[in-house]
Each structure stands twice: as C-alpha cells, then as structure tokens.
C-alpha cells in the first residue's frame, strides 16, 4: 500500500518537475506556459478571495441537480425500453439517436428555449446524462440471465418486486458503467455550456476558464483546468469507486 502511494506520488512529482524544467528551459514564452509556482499562486489567491470556491459550488450544484434529474428519468425509461417492444422501437431508437449527438449541440437550443438562465444549464446537463443512462439500463436489463427471473418467479416474486429485487440488482454492473458514462457526458456538456454562455445567476468554473482566456491569464486557465480534473477524480474516487469495489467483491469480477 505504502509502495503504491510512494510510486504514484513519485510519478506526479516527476510530472511537476518536468513542467518546471520546461518553463526553466524557456522553450515557450512564459505567457503561454506559466510555471507551476505561478499557477499555484493563482489558485491560492482565488481560494483566498473566494472566487474559486463560489465557482466550484455553482458548477457542482448544476451538475448534481442535472445529473440527478437525468438518472431519475433515465432509469425508469431504460427499464421501460427493456420491457416492451413498442417502447424499444420508439424511446429506445430516440435514445440511441440522441446519444450520438454531442451534448454541446444542445447549447444553442437551450439558450433559445430558456434564455441565459440556470434552466438552460440544467437542460444541457440532463440531455448529456439521460440518453446514455437509458441505453445502459436497457442493455443491463436485457443482459440478465433469464434464469434469475425464473428462479425468482418460482419463489413467488411478481411484478414490482421482481423489478426492484431481481432485475435492478442483477443489472447493477451495467447500471454503474452507464452512470459513469452519464457522469462523464454531464461534466463535459456543462463545461462546454459554461464556457460558451455567461449566465448571470452564477459564474461556474467554465466561466473562470473563459475569462482566463479573455484576460490572457494562462495561470488562471491552467489552474482552473487542474481544479476541474481534481473534481472529476474526487467524484470517481468517492462516488463510483466504493460501488465498484462492492460489485467486484460480490460478483467476483475484476481484480481486488
């Protein structure tokens, strides 16, 4: 365990050192490649004056609400498409089609429909999450060995009980990968929307990034990018990793 931590830290220290050396070598203008120290200074000042924290709260709130709504709608819709041919031919095909649409393509439509409002941001996030979650749920339910539902039925499980106690838990591995994919799409679409559009009700991380470019403040650009990466990592490690570990332990899949 300690060895793993050490070697990982060593790797990231080496990356930092390489970055530092590249700046020292003056290959690129310091305007284009600021030193790690100046990026750190920006982050510290942004934390101190509160801008970074505010932007993070705005962004994460949009993300969580939009993602939550996407899951809330996507899960039952996915169950629906898996359980009837009609909804597979209609909602299923719709989901398949719209899932291929890059979610940033929803931004112009959202702006015209909702104006420069929170609703427009949420709409984009929901559209990023929803379709891939429908498809993953649908796929998960279809991949369940029929013997599970037969066994459950023979023990007297019917209707809603079968769905909640057999179909959903049996498709959990697929649901999780669908939720991870949905999360990635939601994150990407929100960043795109925030960089594109100024919403007066709240400045998210995307805006900070955007203004960094406007002001030619490369330390800000890189600093905010780092924050975005860290949030993504943190969500994976705290939200998804525990569920994944549980699945691996129960199902006996993957490496421990």
């Amino acid at each position: 365990m300690i060895v793993r931590w050490l070697s990982a830290s060593l790797f990231f220290l080496a990356l930092l050192a390489a970055w530092h050396l590249a700046v020292k070598a003056k290959i690129w203008s310091p305007l284009l490649l600021p030193s790690p120290v100046s990026v750190f200074d920006y982050l510290r000042s942004a934390v101190e004056d509160g801008t970074l924290w505010e932007a993070t709260v705005v962004t994460v709130r949009r993300l969580l609400i939009g993602y939550g709504l996407g899951i809330l709608a996507g899960l039952p819709l996915g169950l629906l498409t898996a359980s009837s041919r009609w909804s597979q031919d209609t909602i299923g095909v719709l989901a398949l089609g719209l899932q291929t649409l890059p979610s940033v393509c929803w931004v112009p439509l959202a702006l015209l429909w909702f104006g420069q409002t929170e609703s427009a941001m949420l709409f984009v996030v929901v559209m990023g999450t929803l379709w891939s979650l429908i498809l993953a749920t649908d796929n998960g339910v279809r991949t369940i060995p029929p013997i599970y539902t037969r066994a459950a039925r023979s023990m007297g499980s019917t209707g809603l009980h079968t769905w909640t106690h057999v179909v959903l838990p049996a498709s959990l591995p697929f649901l999780l990968s669908g939720m991870k994919q949905g999360w990635a799409f939601a994150w990407r679409s929100l960043m795109a929307a925030e960089i594109f559009v100024t919403i007066l009700t709240g400045f998210g991380l995307g805006h900070l990034l955007h203004y960094g470019r406007e002001l030619n403040a490369m330390d800000q650009v890189i600093g905010v990018m780092l924050v975005i990466v860290f949030i993504g990592l943190a969500v994976d490690k705290t939200l998804f990793a525990p569920i994944e570990r549980f699945l691996h332990r129960r199902w006996g899949t993957g490496r421990s």
């Binding site: 013997i147 037969r150 066994a151 039925r153 023979s154 023990m155 106690h165 057999v166 049996a170 129960r250």
Partner: protein, 268 residues
C-alpha cells in the same frame, strides 16, 4: 367429453395430477411438440424421477408443474387445485446455479423466505440458518456466491428451495454440472433430507443410474413428441448407494429399454 365429472377417482390421494397434458413451442423454423398427451399422478411424499434424452419435454413438464409454463391442453392440479401460476408450495431448483450473485449465501436463502409467509425477521434468520446447517454450509452464510464451488452452490440452491417449506420440490437436473464425487455426496444428502422432511420430489435427469438411486419410481420419456413410454417402480431399500450391484441391475434394464426408443427414433 363424457367423463367430464372432474378428474378420475384416485386423484384425491394424489399430490400432483397431470392429465392429457400437451404443449408445443413455435420456434422460427418449426413447431416442436414438447409434450403430447402426458398423464401422470404423483403421490404425497413420493420421489419420482423423469428420465429421457434431451428434447423429450421432461423439463417442460417440470415447468408446467411449477406454474412457470402453461400447458396448451390438459389438466394440472396440486392438492386438487388447478395450478394457475408459481406458488410457494412448489419450488424449483435449476440445473445451472440460479443463485443471485448480488446477495450473500444467507441473502439467497432469505429471498424465498421473505416472499413466502408471515415470519418475522428473527424467525426467517433462524430458518435460513437451520437449512444452511442442514446442507452443511452454515459456516459460509456470509460468503459471496462466487466464492463457492459448484457443489456448494447447488447445496445453497437446495437450502433456498427448502427454506420456505414447500410440499413439492421440483429439481431440473440439479446435479448435471457437478463432478461424480460431489454428485455422490449430494445423492446422500438429498435422500437424507427427503426422508427427514417427507417432500414430494419430482426430479428430472438424463442419468438413469441417478434416477434409480433416488426415485421410488422412474418414468421414461421419449422425444418428438414428448411422451411417457414406460415406468419402473424401484423397490430398493434406502439409503441407496449409487455403486451398489442391485441398483446397477435396475439401471441396466432401464437403459436397455431407453436405448430401444432412441434406436427406433433413428431408424424411423
């Protein structure tokens, strides 16, 4: 029909009554007659083995008794009541491990218990542990399913099927995927549990020796269409050893008859 005044006289004493059961399946290319006019009575506490080559409809018959499938024609009754769907009195044990991988061993045994009757949590727990003890796996109750061997999985499946206290146990080649040694142990277990708990057991297998080892009666099916061809009473004393000479004599005779059908099929 002239004799439409209910099932015939001796059904009152029968646990399971199947009369003139027919069932066919439509696949993309052809219509398969899985069962054709099958009539069978099974007494309370009887251990009946259904034997035949694959495709003779014996699993279909089991599914019909379980209430998982409906016959196209014919009458199926348990305790004088027409079987309309699955019920907690007739539990099924499958060939493949149908254990739920998202639950622990204990969780699997509790699954059917929670669905069956008005036991409280403590009583369910006690029952589940009792049946895990019965199949010798109480130590493993907190294990995950994937940590068990094939034989242990089928033992858990047996405990799961026994726990809700069904009066009929339906077993669809439950030991088919196990190695010979594990199977022999389970023959001992199942006979012991059967004699202690007096279940009515309908056991599907294509292994004649297994059928003779376990059954009071061995019922021989032939395929295309699935029909009962002959039945044999096995009056050997219990517990039976699969390797005993007496048992082999019965098995040889039944196998000879079975081969006769298969050859007729090929010739015809």
């Amino acid at each position: 029909m002239l004799t439409s005044d209910g099932p015939s006289a001796n059904t009152a004493s029968s646990k399971l009554v199947l009369e003139h059961i027919s069932k066919s399946f439509q696949t993309s290319s052809l219509n398969v007659q899985a069962l054709d006019d099958v009539t069978l009575r099974i007494a309370e506490g009887e251990f009946v083995c259904l034997v035949g080559p694959s495709g003779c409809g014996k699993s279909t018959l089991l599914n019909i008794i379980a209430g998982l499938d409906r016959p196209d024609r014919g009458l199926v009754q348990a305790d004088g009541q027409t079987i309309a769907g699955p019920g907690p009195h007739r539990l099924m044990m499958f060939q493949e491990a149908a254990l739920f991988p998202w639950l622990t061993v204990l969780g699997n045994v509790l699954f059917g218990l929670k669905l069956s009757n008005g036991l409280n949590a403590a009583e369910r727990q006690e029952k589940a542990e009792y049946f895990l003890e019965l199949v010798g796996l109480k130590r493993f109750m907190h294990s995950n399913v994937h940590e068990l061997s094939g034989g242990m999985k089928q033992r858990v499946a047996l405990a799961r099927a026994l726990a809700p206290n069904p009066s009929v146990l339906l077993m669809d080649e439950p030991f088919g995927a196990l190695d010979a040694l594990t199977r022999e142990q389970l023959y001992g277990d199942i006979q012991r549990i059967w004699s202690q708990h007096r279940k009515t057991i309908v056991f599907v297998t294509h292994n004649v020796r297994e059928a003779v080892c376990l059954g009071d009666r061995v019922i021989l099916f032939s395929p295309n269409p699935g029909r009962i061809r002959e039945e044999f009473a096995i009056p050997l004393p219990r517990p039976r050893d699969i390797n005993s000479v007496d048992l082999a004599r019965y098995a040889t005779e039944i196998t000879r008859v079975l081969k006769g059908y298969v050859q007729t099929e090929v010739a015809g």
